[in-house]
């Protein structure tokens, strides 16, 4: 007996099969739906261009969380004191956890499974955020990352969360943003300690700031193009240059307040526009995002190596069940 047409399917079949949810006649109808605050779900018959762009964006985010987590991990043994060691253990787990949630969401879009995404990352075929292509030289670099990079990531993720049209992504972003908030607070506490420390500690952070200020500012990317599909489709809720400007307004006075110099000789304060930084040469970011940054090769090789080294754990767990 068949009561329903189509008959109810399982969630697994539904996500694996052809889209059975809502569909839209054309891109105009779809964009109107998004402009009205519509939320797209994994089983919806979304336009292919939207599926591809959103998938790529989430994959980039997932890769970045994983690469960021591995950077944090490198510093666990060298963290000064037990409390900071615990904090960095927890932070590493958070970042790897963020990667995990995002890879689940990305895989459900039906374009690549997690194994393929990881294989592409380790082969250098896909991308991750610019800030994870640089080397952390001293503990002060870790503080700069925790304070400046996490704050930049937080600001851009929050802008995605605000108005995000892809439901599964929006839901995991809520958790990710909450946890980034803890990272930022840890970062500022560490900054406060080192700022109030010895002259050598102060110099250490100043040197780290000189390495990390530009990458952090560049994280927001060049000015958004007027036809950026991610803006039109309500994945990004704010233009890159607006986020970058807001970040500069907040962090220039904060860092100066702690007695540090912003490494930008062209930095100036305008009575109307506030803090203005020098013109950015975006060729560095473009090269970095093609995995041609100063530490890209080593980073990717380390990530691939650690995945290969832990294969036995995954194999043993799979075999034990």
């Amino acid at each position: 007996m068949t009561l329903l047409d189509p008959t109810p399917a399982t969630l697994a079949d539904r996500l694996a099969g052809p889209p059975v949810g809502r569909s839209w006649a054309d891109m105009d109808e779809f964009e109107t739906f998004l402009d009205d605050g519509g939320i797209v779900e994994a089983h919806d018959d979304m336009p292919e261009a939207y599926r591809t762009e959103v998938f790529r964006f989430i994959e980039l985010h997932a890769n970045s969380e994983l690469m960021g987590g591995l950077t944090e991990r490198d510093w666990i043994p060298r963290a000064p004191g037990l409390r900071l060691k615990q904090i960095f253990l927890a932070k590493t787990q958070d970042e790897i956890g963020h990667a995990h949630l995002l890879y689940m969401v990305a895989a459900d879009m039906g374009m690549k499974d997690r194994e393929q995404m990881l294989a592409d990352l380790f082969a250098g075929r896909t991308r991750f955020h610019n800030v994870f292509h640089y080397q952390a030289v001293t503990w002060a670099d870790q503080i700069a990352i925790a304070y400046l990079v996490d704050a930049a990531a937080f600001a851009s993720q929050r802008a995605v969360f605000q108005n995000c049209s892809y439901g599964p992504y929006k839901r995991v972003l809520k958790r990710i943003i909450a946890e980034e908030g803890f990272h930022m607070r840890h970062g500022e506490e560490m900054l406060l300690r080192i700022a109030e420390g010895t002259r050598i500690q102060h110099e250490m952070f100043q040197a780290a700031l000189e390495r990390w200020w530009m990458p952090a500012v560049q994280l927001f990317g060049p000015d958004s193009s007027p036809d950026d599909p991610l803006l039109a489709w309500h994945i990004k809720s704010e233009r890159n240059e607006v986020l970058r400007h807001a970040y500069v307004q907040k962090y220039v006075p904060l860092l100066q307040g702690y007695g540090f110099d912003i490494p930008d000789s062209g930095l100036r304060h305008d009575p109307v526009d506030g803090w203005l930084i020098s013109e950015i040469d975006w060729s560095e970011l473009r090269a970095t995002m093609r995995n041609g940054g100063p530490d890209s090769r080593r980073r990717i090789a380390t990530a691939a190596g650690s995945y290969a080294d832990t294969a036995w754990v995954r194999d043993a767990l799979a075999a034990a069940s």
């Binding site: 329903l4 109810p8 399982t10 697994a12 539904r14 949630l101 839901r171 767990l317 799979a318 069940s321």
Partner: protein, 90 residues
């Protein structure tokens, strides 16, 4: 490998809420990994995992078929209007 949907509930209030999914070889590993991925800061006290192949999804068009039933609602406007009139004449 099985894919589980993860649900969390705080003690004493609210309902279970879906929080995401987790891949694991079996139920025991699923619970272990779900705790590490979703319950690091007291997000819930009760944890449910449901294998994705066991969740039945209602066809959306069928579910929506019940939305357009105004006679099942009452916004109380008629009564509010009547009471207002009574107050004004009193």
């Amino acid at each position: 490998m099985r894919t589980f949907e993860v649900f969390l509930k705080k003690a004493g209030k609210d309902e279970f809420r879906h929080v995401g999914a987790i891949d694991a070889a079996d139920a025991e590993l699923g619970v272990t990994l779900a705790r590490e991925a979703y319950v690091r800061r007291g997000e819930g006290d009760d944890l449910w995992l449901v294998d994705r192949t066991h969740i039945v999804v209602g066809p959306p068009a069928f579910v929506r078929g019940n939305h357009d039933k105004p006679h099942r609602h009452n916004d109380g406007a008629a009564i509010a209007e009547r009471r207002r009139q009574q107050r004004e004449t009193a």
